[in-house]
């Protein structure tokens, strides 16, 4: 590969200055004349029939311009996975969790809207509720959705190889049970939506969303109007981590009221609503049995996974499917029996969150592997290296892994944490641990499968890039612009990007499944090449050379190897214009994963992602045996991201993801009692602050994937799969206790140390 000028450089994010100076506009920063403010009335009960909803009191409040309940909206269900739609924007007939949407009001001020909420009368008939997914599966348990038996709304049972036979051939069998907790994404920006209707009746929604095009579709469905009457614009988004993938009542209600009142309407969630009524990581109950051969080969694994889905589906079928298939990476595993259930309970709703169903099972596997290694007298690092998946190897579920740097991530993470010197050798209370994982770089889905991009070369030599990719703070716009700048041979400052406006930018699935860099990056790369070719044709004609001899670099187009034989980018554009070629100079690109029959894995095996990233996290911890507090001293995040388009942004992704993973290992939990969230605030929830943040070393392992733009794969999301088990394994090294339930709080540590003393 040629030396690169822009790709691979530590460039600050294109919008960093806006953000540093307070000029960046997020949804709640926007305001329009005559704007109304909306609020949502939420259920105080976990499970109840709505017998009667009386809005008249609310309507009488001065300043109120509208009040609606579920009976006033189109009876159209929505959901992110078409086969699992089970939610109305406002509850119709019954409520299924504390925080479920019952009614909405808009008023000329927020105070008036809040007062109106207090005047709404709801008669409920309380129903028996169920809060534990295992109980919810029993015959006779309360029915949460009428059409769903035993509250199991999605399930999977898959066998690869022959597990029974492999268990029979195993020299050692291990069986353990693990529990993980509910975790909130905690984006700093609460969910917001602002809708404006134009004179033609078209509604424009500004929203804190990761998926503008999916949101447009779900809005059109729930409002029961054509897609062409809905425009979604994504302003700056203050983090998402998966929580801003779904449509929410705020989106629907803003659009509905804007259409009804012909006035701009804004809904912004309170922090408490973000905790109680958006999405969270699914708590899982995991039974895991593993068969090992004497030589350390993992022969077979059997899982029974029960995921607590809360009151609605969101991504349920995909979540439980991902949990299954990503057991078979990053280790070779020929024999797997996976039984997984997504179960409704009367609790906050589970959804996609950084890692999406995989971190929970990965915690189980990685924690158990350390136990396995100890019992078999093998170093946990060696055990992992022995079973590490290798590029090009056949995969039981037909995943096509072209590049795999897993072994290198293991080795570099181990070296970074000082494995040789420290493992098993530190004084009591100090320890090191590690864990590995793998993640897709973009997921196949049947509706919005491809990304589009358009690159326009302007008269002054600047580049306008249109992409549907949704930057939610991860730096997608910067990374995609770097790719375009590299292809066109111009500096990054020449690129102007317009992103995520469904009216203007090409179709894109949005930000989920870690596909943005690969998918939207490839689309932009192809579009740049097409625009460049057009310019090259004009230059080639002028210079009487072959198009193939030209290259673009440093704002010049010239004969390869002879920079003096050519012209400036601007001169080329001028010549293009003067020779009366089609204007404007536009390149279009589209990228779709290369599978012949793209699979969602929901019905059949096949290649699910264009590329797979691999990662290892290593941790060093110190346990205060008096207080039970665990301090994570150091984390090493070694990540095969294919190629870092922007190493500074990749590091930022890894660092943020690691600290989130640490929070889930030690502090974070959405605690409910009879369905009510007891700690819906940052003060009580346990989000890590700078005080807890460890020293973090990022190691980028580059494998240059042939499918990725300049070789790039996923970074940042997969990173959150392994910090928790790495920390839990380090705690074992420190105090000799294996924890199987997250989070490992000081109370649990002290209790375990007490029990250990008694032994």
């Amino acid at each position: 590969m040629n030396k690169l000028d822009v790709v691979g450089k530590r460039e600050p994010m294109l919008d960093a200055w806006e953000k540093a100076t307070g000029r960046a506009r997020f949804t709640d920063d926007l305001a329009f004349p005559g704007m109304l403010y909306g609020k949502i009335l939420r259920s105080p009960l976990a499970h109840a029939k709505i017998l009667h909803l009386d809005l008249t009191g609310a309507e009488k409040v001065t300043g109120v311009k509208g009040a609606i309940g579920g009976e006033d909206i189109p009876k159209k269900k929505y959901g992110i996975v078409p086969m699992a739609k089970d939610e109305y924007a406002l509850a119709i007939g019954k409520v299924r969790y504390v925080g479920d949407e019952v009614a909405a009001v808009v008023a000329t001020s927020l105070d008036a809207a809040e007062e109106a909420l207090s005047k709404i009368q709801v008669d409920y008939e309380e129903l028996p509720a169920v809060f534990d997914p295992v109980e919810a599966m029993q015959p006779g348990a309360p029915v949460i959705h009428e059409e769903v038996h035993n509250n199991v709304s999605a399930s999977i049972r898959k066998e690869f190889g022959n597990v029974e036979k492999a268990f029979g051939e195993s020299d050692f069998l291990f069986e353990d049970t693990f529990e993980t907790q509910a975790v909130n994404h905690c984006p700093l920006e609460p969910q917001a939506a602002l809708a404006v209707v134009d004179p033609s009746g078209k509604v424009t929604l500004y929203a804190s969303t990761q998926i503008p095009f999916f949101l447009r579709r779900n809005l059109a469905t729930t409002l029961d109007i054509p897609e062409s009457k809905v425009r979604v614009i994504k302003p700056k988004v203050g983090g998402g981590f998966g929580q801003k993938i779904d449509l929410y009542a705020k989106d629907f209600c803003a659009a509905f009221f804007a259409m009804k009142t012909k006035k701009p309407v804004k809904f912004v969630y309170e922090r408490e609503e973000v905790f109680t009524s958006t999405r969270q990581r699914h708590p899982m109950h995991i039974q895991l049995k593993t068969g090992m051969r004497k030589d350390g080969t993992i022969l077979a694994q059997q899982f029974k996974v029960i995921a607590d889905g809360g009151a609605y589906n969101s991504t349920a079928p995909l979540m439980i499917t991902l949990a299954c298939y990503f057991i078979m990476l990053p280790y070779r595993l020929e024999n797997l029996l996976f039984e997984g259930y997504h179960v409704y309970t009367n609790k906050p709703v589970g959804g996609a969150m950084r890692g999406h169903g995989i971190p929970q099972v990965r915690f189980a596997v990685e924690a158990q592997l350390d136990h396995v290694a100890e019992k078999m007298g093998i170093d946990p690092l060696d055990l992992r290296l022995k079973n590490a998946f290798q590029a090009g190897a056949p995969h039981p579920a037909k995943l096509r892994v072209q590049t795999c740097g897993f072994s290198d991530t293991l080795k570099t993470a181990a070296k970074g944490i000082g494995w040789e010197e420290k493992r098993g050798k530190l004084p009591f209370g100090r320890g090191v641990g590690l864990a590995g994982a793998s993640f897709p770089s973009g997921v196949s889905n049947m509706s919005h499968i491809s990304s589009g991009a358009m690159v326009k070369i302007e008269r002054d030599g600047s580049i306008t890039l249109l992409t549907g990719a949704a930057d939610i703070g991860q730096g997608a716009e910067t990374v995609i612009s770097q790719i375009v700048a590299e292809e066109l041979g111009v500096p990054l400052e020449d690129i102007r990007i317009t992103a995520a406006d469904t009216e203007i930018t090409p179709l894109d699935p949005g930000t989920f499944g870690s596909g943005v860099t690969l998918r939207a990056g490839n689309a932009a790369k192809i579009a740049s090449q097409e625009a460049r070719e057009k310019l090259f044709e004009a230059v080639a004609e002028k210079m009487e050379v072959n198009v193939k001899e030209l290259e673009a670099r440093n704002r010049r187009i010239y004969v390869k190897g002879s920079p003096e034989r050519g012209m400036s980018f601007k001169e080329a554009i001028k010549f293009y214009q003067y020779s009366d070629r089609p204007m404007p100079i536009i390149g279009r690109g589209s990228y779709q994963p290369p599978a012949k029959e793209p699979t969602t894995l929901l019905k059949e095996d096949g290649n699910f992602s264009p590329a797979y990233s691999f990662m290892t996290q290593a941790a060093e911890v110190e346990v205060d045996t008096k207080t039970g507090k665990v301090k994570v001293l150091k984390m090493v995040a070694s990540h095969d991201c294919g190629k870092a388009i922007n190493p500074m942004l990749v590091e930022g992704q890894l660092e943020g993801s690691v600290v989130g993973g640490m929070g889930q290992a030690l502090y974070e939990e959405v605690i409910t009692e009879k369905g009510r969230v007891l700690n819906p605030s940052f003060l009580d929830y346990g989000i890590p602050t700078a005080m807890e943040a460890p020293s973090i070393t990022s190691v980028e392992v580059e494998t240059n994937d042939p499918e990725g733009p300049f070789g790039a794969k996923e970074s940042g999301e997969g990173t959150q799969l392994a910090p928790a088990p790495a920390i839990i394994n380090a705690i074992y090294d420190a105090i000799g206790v294996r924890f199987k339930t997250l989070p490992v709080t000081p109370e649990k540590i002290l209790q375990a140390l007490d029990e250990k003393k008694k032994e």
Binding site: T21, V237, G238, I472, G652, S657, T689
Partner: protein, 162 residues
């Protein structure tokens, strides 16, 4: 004074000095500085992350000290010098902290950034040579979910003399 339903809403003319400019306007006495900055003065750089004083995104400087504007009544800070993120640059020149945050990659989604930068400024003004632990402690009331704080701490430390 205005009667709204059964409630009596008291309004008052208040005067605020924000970023070196005087603003005079009529508003309800119960409104917070955060609301007034964002909704009346159009200074939306100050962010609302929780409205409960738990996230630090609404941090502003009052007489050089960091305050949570969501817990501060606008009427109570009349006559005091208030600085928001929009007023941190001097004569068009960004503050060194703004430069450091941009160049070190300390900004991802950017929602915590204004509060974080102002908190760091107030802290460095008091303690220009802090240790890493002191920096972490100083910003521990400002939550960031994106960066893991690593590059934020690096950016702040890059301006110290150690």
């Amino acid at each position: 004074m205005e009667v709204r339903g059964k409630e009596v809403v008291v309004k008052r003319i208040i005067t605020l000095n924000v970023n070196g400019e005087e603003f005079e306007f009529l508003t309800e006495v119960h409104r917070t500085l955060l609301e007034v900055l964002r909704e009346d003065l159009g200074l939306t750089g100050t962010k609302r992350g929780c409205d409960l004083g738990t996230c630090g995104a609404c941090t502003v400087l009052i007489e050089g000290k960091p305050y949570l504007s969501c817990l501060t009544l606008a009427a109570d800070v009349q006559g005091k010098k208030i600085v928001t993120i929009e007023g941190l640059a001097q004569d068009g020149e960004p503050h060194p902290l703004q430069k450091a945050f941009v160049q070190k990659g300390a900004i991802q989604c950017g929602f915590c950034t204004p509060g974080m930068i102002l908190m760091a400024k107030a802290f460095l003004d008091e303690n220009p040579n802090p240790s890493e632990e002191e920096v972490k402690q100083a910003i521990s009331g400002n939550i960031c979910r994106c960066t893991g704080y690593t590059k934020i701490v690096e950016a702040i430390l890059s301006l110290t003399h150690k």
